[in-house]
Amino acid sequence: MTAEIIVVTSGKGGVGKTTTSASLATGLAMAGKKVAVIDFDVGLRNLDLIMGCERRVVYDFVNVVHGEATLKQSLIKDKRYDNLFVLAASQTRDKDALTQEGVEKVLDGLSEMDFDYIVCDSPAGIEKGAHLAMYFADHAVVVVNPEVSSVRDSDRILGLLASKTRRAEKGEGPVTQHLLLTRYNPARVAIGEMLSVKDVEEILGIDVVGVIPESENVLTASNNGIPVIVDTKSLAGQAYSDSVARILGEERPLRFVEVPKKGFLQRVFGG
């Protein structure tokens, strides 16, 4: 059985790709899958920070691509889940250090090691790094914020997924597209400061796979090296759990898209 390759991409930077990659990979691992998550953002490595393994990086993705280390040496086992591994990016190199053949070799190697899922955390932009991250994908999680520039960039990425991927080039059927709306703030949507779920779905012509509410927990979790999905009390964590379940084929109702009604205590004390 070959591993399913999922790229997490967006075009625009700062929309939550790495946060999503970390939570998606962790969520799949929580569901009992064997998962590897690869940071394609060579030169600006961040995933290891969010996964909380930055002090355990010895060899990285570029080392494996160049044959300077084996996959086994480079994969960092997650401290929470035994079936989750991180392949960090190199901070000292740039995106030209990656080659299509090298990336393919790494993905094939992971497939041979019986991984169920390989999550590729794409860099921003549509240049080489982003291209290589999406090229081999079977699924794509397109991360979008509810604002016009992010939506337009996602539209561009959706176009590239339909044309500049191995599946497209070999006619193996389209890459499955999942649209994930992050940093969603229902209160700001209600007063017209943000695009609504419906607006985004209408502009892009596809349905969302999940909506992650804007939440302070995300920042706190990231700073502490914990994927927010692990924080099951936080709304963002729950929303990520829902989204991962949907990607795995489960049906779950969309939550956190309405303005929360304030409880009695909140109304008294403000909140």
Partner: protein, 256 residues
């Protein structure tokens, strides 16, 4: 350009002449280009700092690839000037400019070169229409746009950055045309879906070409070179089914 206060239109759209510096690239060497321009900027900052310039690649033997052109543009930027487009060149340059998202200014060579020298011009830079037969290499200027070959169909969304060109025929899009996407036809254009990007019919000058859209919110529509951009889409047209046509060189738009 002077504003006419009695005009009911919000603006006038005119071709005019403005001075713009042209950087004629003699060899593809971004570092050297940056140094050279930096020297000019330092010598006359008032004149050149943040000056709009166009890049002329027509003096190079071979058109550099996208990466190299990106590097050249970046070199101009880091020298303190603002590249706003490419200038002169062949249809290959035009295709390159499109991929870069830049205008090609003074593209007269592109219009007059023989059709046989045009293999580099793709109908669409991304394979937006895989079912389309290879365009026949007949001289494009010899005949006005006809629709004899039937229409070209595009099923599915045309995404931002994609371009679909129906050469010498009509284009039928079943799906939305996103912001930043372009659909072009030498004949008519029919869009069954939202038009949020650009639609250009009669691309080779057919003034009888029309555009039909079922959900009208475009950035730009054009017929035979007469175009209209939409800073604000008129309320009576926005989201409605609309047709566009030319009447005495004026672009007309009305609800269906």
């Amino acid at each position: 350009m002077s504003a006419r206060m009695n005009s009911p239109d919000a603006c006038d759209l005119r071709f005019g002449q403005v001075g713009i510096a042209c950087v004629r690239v003699r060899r593809v060497d971004a570092a050297a280009l940056c140094d050279e321009l930096e020297r000019r900027v330092r010598a006359a900052p008032q004149m050149f700092s943040r000056a709009a310039v166009v890049l002329d690649l027509s003096h190079l033997l071979d058109l550099p690839d996208d990466g190299a052109v990106d590097a050249l543009l970046e070199a101009v930027r880091s020298a303190g000037m603002l590249p706003v487009g490419l200038a002169y060149g062949t249809s290959a340059t035009e295709a390159l400019a499109k991929r870069m998202g830049l205008p090609l200014i003074a593209k007269f060579r592109a219009a007059y070169e023989p059709a046989t020298a045009m293999p580099a011009m793709p109908a669409a830079p991304e394979p937006a229409a895989p079912t389309q037969p290879v365009p026949q290499p007949e001289p494009i200027l010899s005949s006005p746009a006809g629709t004899a070959q039937g229409a070209q169909h595009h099923v599915g969304a045309v995404r931002s950055g994609q371009q679909v060109y129906a050469r010498e025929r009509d284009l039928i899009v079943i799906g939305a045309v996103a912001n930043g996407a372009e659909v072009i036809a030498d004949g008519n254009i029919h869009i069954y879906g939202g038009l949020r990007g650009r639609a250009m019919a009669g691309a080779q000058g057919d003034e009888k070409a029309r555009i039909f859209v079922s959900d009208f919110r475009p950035e730009l529509v054009a017929i035979a070179g007469q175009y209209r951009v939409f800073e604000q889409i008129p309320v009576e047209l926005e989201g409605h089914s609309v047709q566009c046509w030319l009447e005495d060189d004026k672009l007309m738009i009305a609800r269906l």
